[in-house]
Structures are given as structure tokens and as C-alpha cells.
């Protein structure tokens, strides 16, 4: 059997890279050739998706258990380290490549409508294509360094796209914040790589995971350090406590960017990393418990903040953080398939929610633009009743809301339940997981509540947009609602990917990923729940979701809400949540300000200005000038004096020689 489609695997990342080069050239020399830019930008992604699909189909036919590694050239032959530039294709990479190129293509298409009026259209598509290239390097890389190239590359593109409208200070600051916070995590990733290399002598995935069991004693110090440091990298990239604060600020970027980078793909890189290194995490119970615990805590914590945000995109941002917490709970529990399953379904419904919010924001933005109003087009208090103007968007966003809330038979129900079920099952062996499970359930309740709140305030109740603006509100063009429709269908049916065996499904994704996680699965305690307990958990989850939605519908009064200009400030607990638990202020007080003080008062004013400039640079100049002054005193200009010195010197020398 030929493996022709797999031989062309390099095309999958190469096509977006070519798109970046071409669009970058257009951005420099023909920024107004929008038709060409759209064709190249979207075309590269569609072709990459086709190439990825062909590769996956070929791979599925091969029934290959071991990953296929394609070596292209020798990259870093340094001493004992012989590192090739190589791509790897296995079941996990296949899932990720399909999600990245598939959802990416839809979001590129949506961007054609959303960004059409923007002056930086070509630049935008160049960055977006570059992002997809790096993301594919991340998921297809066959070694830690290749993956790290992608890891840093997506961070760079994230920075560039958050600060896309960089002429406003707040956007540029948000970009810098994302970049700097991510550096903290990346340092962990790097140190983990060094430790892995020192222990195993390799950086390619195959040898590292193959030797891991022999090299690392189970639950040893080294493996725990490696996993915790890797997870620090994940916490930065995937916005987990304590490094999550950059993601809400990242919403300053264009909305399709939020959908692609900050919801569907880049922020899930951490989940992918943990799933990829499943052998390492299985060897370290403490590392796994930390992943699951931080995930569960983040899921609950971010959900509480989402309850009181008014900016529609910030609600979705905190929702993303919370859902990423679920994924980490899943992969930390050892339910890698469940975590990846939630990653996939979340990519569908969260991309849909973000793109839908983009459609809403654009409608409001146009209306405000037409009437020269300066009201905030992202504040839900300025929305309300929009289902009359944006019927498609409203319907599709309701589908996504029900999916994320976990209402059967939508996709989110299956993936979230798979994670919670796995956590509950592990709890029978490790009781601490009962706590994680309870946090997950509480977060599910809040998720249903805040998402219903978002929908109610945005699409229902009276229209709080001004009288004049109302005439300008209209549904987005088809190039935008089309991708929404596709994502809506995927959110509806995504559960079919991994229907649990309990309901007579084939658990397709679970079995598909089994070759990747086989080694780790054998290392973990086997836990099975009885069917009764599983059904009880399922119905409990549905009950929690329904309670959240019902509670939101009963408690919230969209008709009593005031527009943002007139709204009174929040008080009490609401204010605490609205202010995001004051975490940004806390970080500012205990980290940013002390660091700035250290930088300004100690490093700059003392060490740089006084020690380096004052003592070393100016001090050496002063010392040589003083010596020079002493020497110049000898130069009297009188020959007689010189002769006296000369004779005295000769007498001394001769005297010394004679004696």
C-alpha cells in the first residue's frame, strides 16, 4: 500500500507558511489587493485541511500503532545531541491537525467578512497564516525542540494579533502582557527539556518516552520536577492559575483571533503537551495530581469571575479559561481521550461562541459608527433583544450555549461528562479526586448559569441599544454566518466522535487514541464504575446543567437592566467578582511593582548608574586621568631637568650593575 498522502505531510504546515510569505509580501507592496489576500489566506487553510484529511485517511488505513516519523534534515548536530528536523504523525497529532486546519479554515473564512473594512487586512491574514503554520509545527513536531519552535511561534503570533490595532495603548499593553506572562511559563518548559535531556540523553519523543520508565524511577524527584515544570509551561500557554491573567486581556485583539488563538487552538497547546507526555505524567502521581487540581480549581475560579463580567468577550474569555481547566482535569486524571475530546468539542462550540459574539459586536459597531456614538459595542448592557436583528447568530449561539452547558445530546455534554466521570472513577482509588470532581460539578453549574446570562442579556429582553442605532442593526453577511452554521452543526453532532459505550456508542476517539496512551494507561490503577453509578453521574450532570440554565432564567431580569452609561456600580460580592477577585491588582502589588521598584531603584539607579556608570566607567577614566596628571608633572619642558633625571637614572643603573 502506498503512503503517498503521508509522504506529503510536510505540505500541511508548508501551505500556511506559503500563505504567510505571499500575504506578507502583499501586505508590504499591495495592501489593498483584498481579493488576492482572501484567496491566498483562506485557500492555504482549505488546502492544508484537505492535505491533513488525506493524511489522516491514509493513516487510518495503515492501522499503524507506532508514530510515523519523517526526518527532513539534520538540524542540530551538537556533541552527543543529534537532532533532526522531523515531523511525526500519530493518532493524537491527527486529531490536533484536523482541528487546527478545520476550525482554522472556518475562522479564516469568517475573517474575510469581519476584517474586510480594516486597513491592515493583508497584514492580518499574513499573521493568521503564520499562526496556523506554527500551530501545526507544535502538534506535528517529532521532538521537544521542534515543538518548542511552534510553541514560541504561536506565542509570537498571539502577541502580534492581540496588539493588531497597536495604535491604542491598551491593545499594545495587552499584547505585551500575554507575551511576558507566557515567558514565565516557557522558562519552565525549557528547564524541563534540559532535565529530560540530562536524564534520557534524547529529545525526540520516541526515545524519550521509550526510555522514560527505565530512566526515571516512578514518583521520583526528577520526574516530578520535569512534570511540574512542563505544567508551568502549560499553565502559561493554556491560561491556568496562576498564569491565566493574560487571556482576558488578550480579548483586545480582533474577535476571530480570539476564536482561533485564544479559544480553539493555541490555548489548548498545554493540554496537547500533557497528553503527548502522558508517559512522563503517568510516572509522577504528584505531577498528575497537580495538573488535575490546578485544572479543577481554575475551572471553578474562572467560572465565578465570568458570572459578573459585562464585556461579552470577557465572559467568553473566562469561560475559555474555565473549560481549559476541565481539559487539564481530564488529562491530569489520566483520561487523555476525554481531555482531548473536550478539546475538540470546545474548539467547535467556543469558536462558534466567539465568532457569534464577533457578529454581534460588528453589528453594534456598525450601528454606533453610523450614529457617531461612543458607546461600548462589547458591553452586554448596551445589547438586549438582538435576536430580532440577528436571528441566525442568536440561534447558533444558543446551540453553542447548550453545548457548553452540557445539555444532551450536544457535544459538550459528552466530553464534559467523560472528564467528570473519569475524575469520579479515579476518586475511588485516590480520594482527593472527589474534591476535584466536586469543583468540576460546581463549575458546570456556574458555566450553565453565566452562559445563559450572556444569552439572555445579549439576545433577549428589551433592546437597550439606542433608538437611532436600532435601524442600523442587521445580520452579518453569509461569509460570516456560513462558518457559524458549520460550527453549529459540529457543536450539535461533535458528541458522535466519542459516544460512550454506556449508550451503545463505539467510543471512537477513545479507541483511536489508545495507541498513544497505551503505555500510560498500563501504569495507572484500573478503575471501573458500575453502570448504575455512571447513569447516576450522567443524570446528575444533566440536572446540574438544567439547574444552572433554569436558575439564570429565573433569577436574571434582562428587562430591568440599564445601559452601561446609566448602570450603578456593583457592590459586595458582585463587585469582587466584577473586579476579578482583584487578582490583577494583587499581582500588580506583589510582583509587578516590587519588580519595577527593584529595576528602577536597585538595578538602574544603584547598580547601573552608580556602580557601572559611576565606579567602573567613569572611575577608570578618573583614575587614568589622575595617573596622567602625575606623569605630566615630570614633563617640565626644561632640558636641564631631563638631563639631571637621565644622569641620576644612569648612575642608579650603573650602580646597580656594579654592585
Amino acid at each position: 500500500m502506498s503512503a503517498s498522502a503521508l509522504q506529503l505531510l510536510w505540505l500541511v504546515p508548508a501551505l500556511p507558511l506559503a500563505g504567510f510569505v505571499l500575504n506578507g509580501a502583499l501586505a508590504l507592496w499591495r495592501p489593498n489587493a483584498k481579493a488576492a489576500v482572501s484567496t491566498i489566506g483562506v485557500g492555504a487553510l482549505v488546502l492544508a485541511f484537505a492535505a491533513a484529511t488525506a493524511a489522516v485517511a491514509e493513516f487510518a488505513r495503515l492501522h499503524q500503532a507506532a508514530p510515523l516519523v519523517f526526518r527532513y534534515w539534520e538540524w542540530m548536530p551538537v556533541g552527543d545531541l543529534r537532532l533532526d528536523f522531523a515531523l511525526q504523525f500519530d493518532q493524537l497529532s491527527a486529531v490536533m491537525a484536523l482541528v487546527v486546519t478545520g476550525v482554522g479554515a472556518l475562522i479564516h473564512l469568517f475573517s474575510v467578512g469581519y476584517m474586510h473594512e480594516d486597513a491592515g487586512y493583508a497584514r492580518y491574514f499574513a499573521y493568521l497564516n503564520l499562526f496556523v503554520f506554527f500551530m501545526l509545527m507544535l502538534v506535528l513536531g517529532a521532538s521537544f525542540p521542534v515543538m518548542f519552535v511552534g510553541w514560541e511561534g504561536v506565542g509570537l503570533c498571539s502577541y502580534l494579533l492581540i496588539g493588531f490595532w497597536f495604535t491604542e495603548q491598551i491593545n499594545a499593553d495587552a499584547g505585551k502582557k500575554a507575551f511576558i506572562v507566557n515567558r514565565i511559563g516557557d522558562s519552565g518548559f525549557l528547564i524541563a527539556m534540559f532535565l529530560i535531556f540530562r536524564a534520557t540523553g534524547a529529545l525526540d519523543f520516541g526515545p524519550v518516552f521509550g526510555r522514560a520508565q527505565a530512566v526515571f524511577p516512578a514518583a521520583g524527584t526528577t520526574i516530578t520536577a520535569v512534570t511540574l515544570l512542563l505544567f508551568l509551561g502549560c499553565a502559561g500557554k493554556s491560561a491556568q492559575i496562576p498564569l491565566y491573567t493574560w487571556l482576558p486581556d488578550a480579548m483586545q485583539g480582533p474577535t476571530p483571533v480570539s476564536a482561533l488563538i485564544h479559544a480553539a487552538t493555541m490555548v489548548t497547546a498545554g493540554v496537547y503537551l500533557v497528553a503527548r507526555c502522558n508517559v512522563l505524567f503517568a510516572l509522577s502521581p504528584l505531577g498528575s495530581a497537580a495538573v488535575a487540581g490546578v485544572g479543577a480549581l481554575t475551572a471553578l475560579f474562572a467560572a465565578t469571575i465570568a458570572l459578573k463580567q459585562w464585556d461579552i468577550k470577557r465572559v467568553l474569555a473566562y469561560s475559555t479559561i474555565s473549560q481549559l481547566g476541565y481539559m487539564f482535569l481530564g488529562v491530569g486524571t489520566g483520561a487523555y481521550a476525554a481531555g482531548i475530546f473536550h478539546l475538540v468539542t470546545h474548539a467547535f462550540f467556543k469558536a462558534l461562541l466567539f465568532l457569534g459574539s464577533g457578529s454581534v459586536i460588528q453589528a453594534l459597531h456598525h450601528a454606533y459608527h453610523a450614529t457617531h456614538s461612543h458607546d461600548d459595542a462589547q458591553d452586554m448592557r448596551n445589547m438586549g433583544g438582538l435576536r430580532r436583528y440577528l436571528p441566525w447568530t442568536a440561534t447558533l449561539m444558543w446551540i453553542a450555549t447548550l453545548a457548553i452547558a452540557g445539555i444532551p445530546p450536544l457535544s459538550g455534554f459528552f466530553s464534559k461528562d467523560a472528564i467528570l466521570g473519569a475524575a469520579f472513577a479515579l476518586a475511588t482509588a485516590e480520594p482527593i479526586w472527589y474534591v476535584y470532581w466536586a469543583m468540576g460539578v460546581a463549575a458546570a453549574l456556574l458555566t450553565a448559569f453565566y452562559m445563559t446570562r450572556l444569552m439572555l442579556y445579549t439576545f433577549h429582553g428589551p433592546t437597550r441599544t439606542g433608538e437611532q442605532e436600532r435601524q442600523h442593526l442587521h445580520e452579518a453577511p453569509w461569509v460570516m454566518t456560513g462558518p457559524l452554521l458549520v460550527l453549529g452543526l459540529l457543536s450539535l453532532s461533535g458528541g458522535l466522535l466519542n459516544l460512550p459505550e454506556l449508550m451503545g456508542g463505539g467510543a471512537f476517539l477513545h479507541h483511536w487514541l489508545e495507541p498513544v496512551t497505551a503505555l500510560a494507561d498500563r501504569m495507572r490503577p484500573a478503575v471501573e464504575l458500575s453502570r448504575v453509578v455512571e447513569w447516576a453521574l450522567l443524570s446528575g450532570a444533566v440536572g446540574v446543567a438544567a439547574l444552572g440554565i433554569f436558575g439564570a432564567v429565573r433569577l436574571l431580569k434582562p428587562e430591568a437592566l440599564l445601559p452601561a452609561r446609566l448602570a450603578p456600580p456593583e457592590t459586595g460580592l458582585g463587585r469582587l467578582l466584577w473586579k476579578k477577585w482583584y487578582v490583577d491588582e494583587l499581582y500588580d502589588a506583589i510582583i509587578v511593582r516590587p519588580l519595577q521598584w527593584l529595576a528602577r531603584e536597585v538595578l538602574w539607579k544603584s547598580i547601573d548608574a552608580r556602580l557601572v556608570d559611576g565606579l567602573i566607567v567613569n572611575g577608570s577614566a578618573t583614575a587614568s586621568r589622575a595617573l596622567g596628571w602625575l606623569g605630566s608633572r615630570l614633563q617640565t619642558g626644561e632640558v636641564g631637568f631631563y638631563v639631571v633625571l637621565f644622569v641620576v637614572g644612569v648612575l642608579l643603573l650603573v650602580g646597580g650593575a656594579v654592585r
Partner: protein, 98 residues
């Protein structure tokens, strides 16, 4: 010829030259004192050549040749200074001080 008195005379001449250079202010006189020292050394060479071989006498010719050249250059410099400054008193010629 007696070696002792010859060396004594040359040492005396040399010392006279040194003190002349140290104490006199007039460039011409200093110049003459330098010549005195050179010739004191020449006398030493000749005196010692009687014991140590003919090489000493050979050196005298070298010294005289160099002294002639030195006299030409030195006198030319002194002349140039005199034309420029109107004096050859070294106390007044001290532009090259630090």
C-alpha cells in the same frame, strides 16, 4: 704608556662634561660638553686598546664619525632655534611641557 693616569684623565674629562651639561645654560656650551664626554670615552678606548686589542681603536673612529654627524645636526638645530627664538638659553626653551 701608563694605563692608570690615562683612565684618570678620561674620567676627569667625562666628569667635566657631565657637570657642564648639567650646570650650563647655553646650548652651544652644553654641546661642547657633550663633545668633551665623547672624547673622554675615546681616550678610554685608546688607553684600553693597548691591553685588550685593536678593536678599541677601531671604535674611536666610529665615535668620531658619529660625533661629526651629531655636530652637524646639533649645530643646525641650535641655529634653527636661535633664528626662531633669538636665544639659545635652554631655560627659555621649554615649550614641550606637560
Amino acid at each position: 704608556m701608563l694605563l692608570g693616569p690615562a683612565l684618570f684623565v678620561s674620567a676627569a674629562l667625562f666628569t667635566l662634561g657631565v657637570f657642564g651639561v648639567l650646570l650650563r645654560r647655553n646650548a652651544i656650551v652644553i654641546f661642547m660638553c657633550v663633545e668633551l664626554m665623547l672624547n673622554a670615552v675615546n681616550l678610554t678606548f685608546v688607553a684600553l686598546a693597548q691591553r685588550l686589542g685593536v678593536a678599541g681603536q677601531l671604535f674611536v673612529f666610529f665615535v668620531m664619525a658619529v660625533a661629526a654627524a651629531e655636530a652637524a645636526v646639533g649645530l643646525a638645530i641650535i641655529l634653527a632655534i636661535y633664528r626662531h627664538r633669538g636665544t639659545v638659553n635652554l631655560q627659555n626653551i621649554n615649550l614641550l611641557k606637560g
